[in-house]
Amino acid sequence: MNAILDKLFLNTTKFIAIAVLLIVAWIFSTLIEHSMVSLEAFGFSFVTESKWAPNLEKFGALPAIYGSVVSTFLAMLLAIPIAIGIAIFLSELAPPKLKSLVGVSIELLAAIPSVIYGMWGLFYFVPIIRDIFGGIGISMLTAGIVLSIMILPFMAAVTRDAMNTTPDILKESAYALGGTRWDIIKDIVIPYAKAGIIGSFILALGRAIGETMAVTFVMGNVHKISLDLTAPATSIPVTLANEFTEADTDLYYSSLFELSLILLIISFTIISVAKFYFLRRKRSF
């Protein structure tokens, strides 16, 4: 009896664990299957064509890809220095009480749903951008900034964690040679925690590029590549959120699936790089 139950338990758990792999495979195959119409119609030109006109049955993904890349790049550009600043403040500067108070608030803020960052962006940040830059305030720039604020808590928390892995004794050795705080951070902490810090940044990048709700309020869903950052734009997730329920033809529908597929591949690639290249095994001390 016990032997049968033992086998049953093993096989049940094993089956469910393998199901996780199957689900991922199923996601990929479903997205590919539903992208077929668009793949056949446009081929590779789907990603190089910049015209997205549902009424003409013309679908080019370039504006959405461009928007995803630029808004994420802007977000990283703004968030990285501030995240490093917060991490230095939390790991090397703040007095212990402030350290845990601010540290915990940052971790909790990372748990706030992204849709709330989007709402805040729409009601409070769009008017500011409008006042400063003119226009309607809904733009690539707004999306980049809101996105940077959304990923900031996550980035700051993981950067701090990575910095905190530097052994105290290593830092003390450098102080004992007459180093300043900044000498220690630049020569010891950052080189020591480099892989962890870069890995976390890339992980944050992976999250930012797939983020929907923080940007969909403030980007405008305009399929036009514009070098003017204050002009409305779109990204892959923004296009999906706005148009998925409106797709009325097979080609339109399939084009949206191809966008999903592209997004999934981009984010899988980024996250895999972070995970396998930078966050593998930590050096032991």
Partner: protein
């Protein structure tokens, strides 16, 4: 009152009426301590764990300042100046009073850059000068032969004993006047330990040394003077050969004969 032997040599450090209180504690961890440290000799600090020997050592280069809320009282004189005073330049102090830690602490950089680090901090950029001084420091630390062909390699590839020599080379490269050793061999095997001990004895000619050790034999082997600490106080400071053979204090005798600790 502690029994303190008269020291013939000049004094590298003089501790006067010194108290130290950790931020998290109500009572001082070191109480009213007086102690001289002789120049160009080796002073060992022994005592059971928690007696304050490492705390005292880390006061000499103000390492405690890295963590907020710790308090010093009294005086520690170094070159006739109180290093606990408010106007003391900590960076300068730490350049003159170097430290070696319980574990080897090779920085995440090449062997060469490890040794050159302290000099680079002082603004020495001249390549040949740097190279000459790195070589000299590595020779003095008796590790030159082992590393001369791989100066550009990551220092973490060295063995524990080699890394500790590297740390000593790094510390002496900036030509400090005092070197503090905090249980420098506690993470090493017996052979590496013997090598480090030999090195410490050789260094005596150029620097004044204070070494904290949990190992009485080590104190007996390397030091000229030995201080025995207990519960935050210095019980006895004597010439090493006298302290271990004819201790003046009963507590010292009990400790070195293994009655407690």
């Amino acid at each position: 009152m502690a029994t303190i032997v008269n020291i013939k040599e000049e004094k590298a450090l003089v501790v006067k009426d010194f108290e130290f209180t950790y931020a998290s504690a109500d009572t001082p961890s070191i109480k009213k301590l007086d102690m001289p440290v002789a120049k160009n000799s080796i002073t060992a600090l022994i005592g059971p764990s928690g007696c304050g020997k490492t705390t005292l050592l880390r006061s000499f280069n103000r390492m405690h300042d890295l963590y907020p809320g710790n308090r010093y009282d009294g005086k520690i004189l170094f070159k006739e100046k109180n290093i606990l005073g408010p106007k003391i330049d900590l960076i300068n102090l730490r350049i003159q009073i170097g430290m070696i830690f319980q574990k080897p602490t090779a920085f995440p950089m090449s062997i060469f850059d490890n040794v050159a680090y302290g000099m680079k901090l002082q603004g020495i950029k001249n390549k040949t000068e740097l190279y000459d001084r790195v070589e000299k420091a590595l020779r003095d630390a008796a590790i030159w032969k082992e590393v001369k062909d791989r100066l550009k390699h990551d220092a973490n590839g060295l063995s524990g004993g080699q890394q500790q020599r590297l740390c000593i080379a790094r510390a002496i490269a900036v030509e400090p006047e005092v070197l503090l050793f905090d249980e420098p061999t506690s993470a090493l095997d017996p052979i590496s330990t013997a090598g480090i001990e030999e090195l410490i004895i050789e260094l005596r000619e150029r620097v004044s040394i204070v070494i904290v050790t949990h190992n009485m034999q080590q104190a007996a082997r390397v030091s000229d003077y030995t201080g025995f600490m207990y519960l935050g106080e210095l019980i006895e400071l004597g010439r090493t050969e006298e302290l271990f053979v004819t201790p003046k204090e009963k507590l010292t005798e009990e400790y070195i004969t293994g009655k407690f600790g």
